[in-house]
Symmetry: C2
Subunit: 289 residues, 2 copies
Amino acid sequence: MININEHSITQAVLQRLDNCDNPRLKTVMTSLVKHLHEFAREVQLSEEEWMAGIQFLTATGHKCDDKRQEFILLSDTLGLSMLTVAMLNAKPAGATEATVFGPFHIEHPPEYAGVCDITDGASGEPLFVSARVLNTRGEPVAGARVNVWQADADGLYDVQRPGLQKHQACGIVHTDDHGRLGFQTVLPVSYPVPTDGPVGEMLLATGRHPWRPAHVHFKIDAPGYQSLITHVFRDDDEYLQSDVAFGVRSSLLGKYLRHEAGEAPDGHHMDRPFYMLSYDFVLAPAVAA
Amino acid sequence: MININEHSITQAVLQRLDNCDNPRLKTVMTSLVKHLHEFAREVQLSEEEWMAGIQFLTATGHKCDDKRQEFILLSDTLGLSMLTVAMLNAKPAGATEATVFGPFHIEHPPEYAGVCDITDGASGEPLFVSARVLNTRGEPVAGARVNVWQADADGLYDVQRPGLQKHQACGIVHTDDHGRLGFQTVLPVSYPVPTDGPVGEMLLATGRHPWRPAHVHFKIDAPGYQSLITHVFRDDDEYLQSDVAFGVRSSLLGKYLRHEAGEAPDGHHMDRPFYMLSYDFVLAPAVAA
């Protein structure tokens, strides 16, 4: 087909998918091409704007490395991440809601056994987390693998600190026979997502703030249950209503309670004030494939 | 706003643009977010597919460097480039049509004066191009700056040859007082776009061939006229109907005529067969800003 014009081109591209032998890929690509073209037609995208888009995507790709995922950040700030989570993660009644994965998860954090301290030098006020992992019948889930990660008192994840040779305030902990887990870490604070890249430029250019309300990330896996990717937010944070990643659920607000110096939950004496968080996670049963 | 669901999230993201003080950016971002979300809803994008998309875009960005533009290739193969060109490049009657820019243009090619030979070692059968640059009244455009680039007999642009320390079969030539230009180069052949990156994977997975019909690129600039970015295709190419970049216009088909050994247009004696292309480009007048 030659002499394709602005109206006939969409059908011309879709016809090229005729030989695609993966039905799902064909469905996804068909919808992608239609919406991409409709966007360009709707705004009458100019060649200069097209080139600005090419350069934006290229810069976003170049900002990605093994510690930074600018495309996830872009997806988070455009609401695509939360949309994807919300669509297909409708949990059964009583199960803990999911939220965005975020760009700072690492593949191989340190593993801890029993009640532990994952701080490892991270800055911040001490926080003791006591949690339970249950199923929707209220029964404890023993041996769940609980991946924890968070920002420190400076609002930085460990992967954002150049030259840091170890992990801080992140790790894998496990539930005991009663579904319990306990660890010491630092109090999370609200923080701006990185603004030194293309996504930061986009937020600035569109008049948006870059802040996320304070939270600790949890990814919980246990045989027989759906993987749960979620956060527990501080319920007193000023950015709960305007999370740049659109990830806040009221069911995920936790009380981070301040205590004066004294005996900590792990029996140690704390000579400075500390915080405590208690939270119960409820896993949904695995869905038959 | 908290507890955003799959239906309310689009409006929630659009509200964040309320403080955008660039009306055009706000328009573009509003349409982009709507179509991005509608795509995800329409296909019920799964988290695994979302992650595959993140990884695809990241790999596409990592494939881009100063000699390769994988995002332009992606745009070309999804028809977005030709759509953008077609929408806002409607030329006045008689003016030469535009087509896609492509991913292989270089910023600073060699400059040539007068009738010249831009081959510089490129492989291929000799081609003599004789062209005129005119305006829509049929008058010659003197001193036009004509940027030429193309693939060689192996189907490769010079920037695709690792280690090549010079440019081949590309350069800037100029029209004389009669609007004429002439240069020797090599006969272009049809070629597959690079398939060693994410775009190649996409083409393979969707059952598409990666071929472009043979062509020479021209970018023509002259004061008082719209910049023209176009190709002249070989009118006998087998891929004219199925150009992977959707760029073929019937008005851009040229006759690349074969001649036996003998006198060439530049007066030299050629001891092997050669090709000749004659083509008239017609520039549209500049549009008042």
